[in-house]
Amino acid sequence: MDEKITIQNLIDILINNTSINKEYAEHFVKEFFQLIEETLEKEKYVKIKGFGTFKLIDVESRESIDVNSGERFLIKEHKKITFIPDTSLRDLINQPFAHFETVPLRDDLDLSNIDTDDGKAKVEEENEEDEDVDADMVDSEESVATEKEDAKDNMDEKRGEDEGKEFVNIEKNNLISTPNAKSELESDEKIDLESVNKLKDKSNAITEEVVEQGIEKKQENIIGSEENAERKTEEEIDANEQKKSEVPKTLTDTKKQLTAEEIIANELKKSNNLYPANRHTHKTTKVTHSYFPIKILKYKIVVAILSVLLLLSIFIPLFFPDFLMSAYVSLNINQKFVQERKGGPNVPNIIVKSDTALVNAIRKAENTIAINALLHADSLQQDSLLRIKNEQTIEDKNLMPSFKPQNLVKADSTLYKIVGIEDEYILKDGETLTSVSLRYYGTKWLWPYIVKSNSDIIKRPNLVYGGMKLKIPKLVRKVIK
């Protein structure tokens, strides 16, 4: 990165890449640029495919003002060399940023506070100062103080709304406008209330009063400032006050609430509880200030959850290779019974039959076929014209087990006898006994036989290594009485 490549380096790179004569490459590269220079001088225009266009442009003389002395002076006419890269080259160079697109913005969008970080910081400072004053006043003039604080809250929320708008606009191609921002605001307020409720539980009776007053005032302020959001927030506030800590949670809200709670928990830990009343009221306002930290924290939590899921999905198959399969089978069994119930009232006759088929199937541990039978039965139940066929299929299913025993053996791996040794197999790295079983018998569930016939080598069936020489037993089905 940011290396300076001279003509000599360029020649070396060319030689490495194309394996050509060094002198020849040197000659070529130098001649290449020399020719561009000369033709530019002669013809003022050189176009090279895949590279770009060099042009010599005449610039007319013009007047200008000396920056230092302020005197007018004339810039003489001169020539300017321009280079416009070829479209293909331009696209190649811009590849890292190619996914960006030009985004039309809404006209009424206020861009003034994108670049006014200083002003924002000032306002926030002022807010904090005011809050300090407010906190001091809490004991004497609680209501007034909370009113002021809430006014600040509203201001901050509006600010957050604006910022949210801009970000959303930039990120999501202007699809989202005020309503969403408002909903964000609502959720912000929710966070507030949630935190307030949390604090209520933790703090003493005095703070409770203060905060409750805060809620009431906030409610009033919200009504005053946000007429659209009014009703919803009112309802939410009511709900909050009734339940105190349990708020109706939508999916998106729960995340935000969680994060808010965590933040509060952290802050509680950090702060020493010298002035509980003041501190707590303070924190309720701080939550609103940390609009962006909440967002970031949310992302962090989401990332953490995802990584845990990823790890689980890696380790579960590693340690319990049969986990998914067994889950799948049990699920199928459940489905079976559900289907049974559903189909029950409509066509009782067939159900009885399919039931018997089911019972048989389960007894013999023939899950897949039973499911098939039931699927058939179910689909046919809906079609009363095909009843006869259905009966036939069920009969077929009852006959099936004796034809296809291997696929069906699962829990019962005692159905077979070992009759001699069929083959020898050298285990490769990463292979398990189930995979060997699958290879030789067409099913995973017969691995115990391999263990049985290799009991001298295999000490633990879940610990086998590449390079193990396994005897693969020949299996014959036992006769069922």
Partner: protein
Amino acid sequence: MNNKDFTLELAKRLKLSTNDTSDMMAKLVSCMTDQWQSGNVISIQTFGNFEVRKKNERVSFHPSTKQKILIPPKLILTFKPSNYLKGKLK
């Protein structure tokens, strides 16, 4: 001078066939492109500097509809002629 004339002229000077010359040109350009893509500056002493620069995103107006648009950030290849070349071509 367009690409064809340029290749012909270069072939004549190097005493090569036109095909070979255009092949070489393509290889040279692809080598240079690799360098630019990895963020390097190619500096040909008598000719000038080729550098990839990042242009920041900006808000602009659509010229015909006068609508505000956000122009995304870009990477652009820039050429700055050397003083020698400037002086020569004046």
